[in-house]
Symmetry: C2
């Protein structure tokens, strides 16, 4: 249930505000059937940039810098990876990524290699956002029903919406290498810890 539906349901009722808030809580606690709401699309079917992902559930932050890849890293930055809260709740309950799961990967360059805590890698500034969405209906033709999106234009500027990548761009590598259902759970301890025991 989204906010508009919450509003429509309670408009005009005597307990309107409390009811709306209760509905909002219900929305926040929504399960897998509601998870698809995290993905919003334009009229042309482009995925809109998720607006609040930094308050989603963080799952892991791999870093694959240039200086560990002969200066030619395919992804020379920190990846701050998040899952939308409703899909995280569903995953924690079922151990499966529900239809509608959105996973955002925010890119931050390497800002420093030493600090008071020692030598290492420390995130600098944000330089981009990419996302993947699982949707059996909308992405019926994609392997695993996962589609991939980059919110950086050819000119390097941020995009408000993005069309799906070709399957070969991202999906194939995820299919071949990800730990579980196209998701690199082998690098995301938060997801592994959340997965229910069999």
């Amino acid at each position: 249930m989204d906010k508009q539906r919450c509003a429509a349901r309670f408009t005009g009722k005597a307990w309107g505000v409390a009811g709306f808030l209760a509905c909002t809580v219900a929305m926040a606690l929504a399960g897998p059937a509601e998870a698809a709401r995290a993905a919003k699309y334009t009229g042309k079917g482009e995925l809109r940039m998720p607006g609040d992902y930094r308050q989603w559930v963080f799952v892991g932050a791999p870093v694959t810098p240039h200086d560990m890849n002969n200066g030619k890293a395919a992804f020379p930055e920190f990846h701050h990876v998040y899952i939308d809260p409703a899909s995280f709740a569903a995953y924690r309950k079922t151990g499966k990524f529900p239809n509608g799961t959105v996973i955002v990967k925010e890119l931050a360059n390497v800002g420093a290699k030493s600090s008071a805590s020692g030598n290492g890698y420390f995130a600098g500034e944000f330089i981009g956002v990419v996302a993947t969405v699982k949707d059996a209906k909308r992405f019926a033709k994609e392997p695993g029903n996962w589609a991939y999106f980059s919110f950086t234009g050819a000119d390097g500027k941020a995009l408000a919406s993005a069309k799906a990548h070709a399957t070969a761009d991202c999906n194939v590598c995820h299919q071949q290498n990800a730990g579980e259902d196209w998701v690199f759970t082998q690098h995301y301890p938060v997801l592994r810890a959340a997965k229910p025991a069999k």
Copy 2:
């Protein structure tokens, strides 16, 4: 306002459930004055292990591995750093860490150094939790009013609660090296991006 106060306020009223939920929403939206609630203490004044920090706001994930520190890293792991949501909301509004701020640093060992995305550092398993709390009343004698806690016992097992470290253990280094108010904001792009423009 905490859950018990929410429950007490609405018990017996006709719109009890809706009111409780509305109150809970109000609690979730609470500002700096309420932020202290993220820290809970035992009767002996030990900080209780925060229970839901993996759903708090992630701010950054430095890694300072052994192999970049001659095998003698002081902190040879990934640090997944989170701030409690109410204090994050206050920081985003005021640019200051409010009284009651709780910052949790969850430790994950290095699980892999290569993946399909290239060579780098990838988190393995969780190995510990530490936290810091800003409280002008409770920690009046600590520089900056920040106290530090480790939830790992001498036997390596997780602790349900922990007493504050001596000032020299953690506070001094933070005071001397942290970017802002004892917090290493120079390594936390989420906080830098959230800080309001002057």
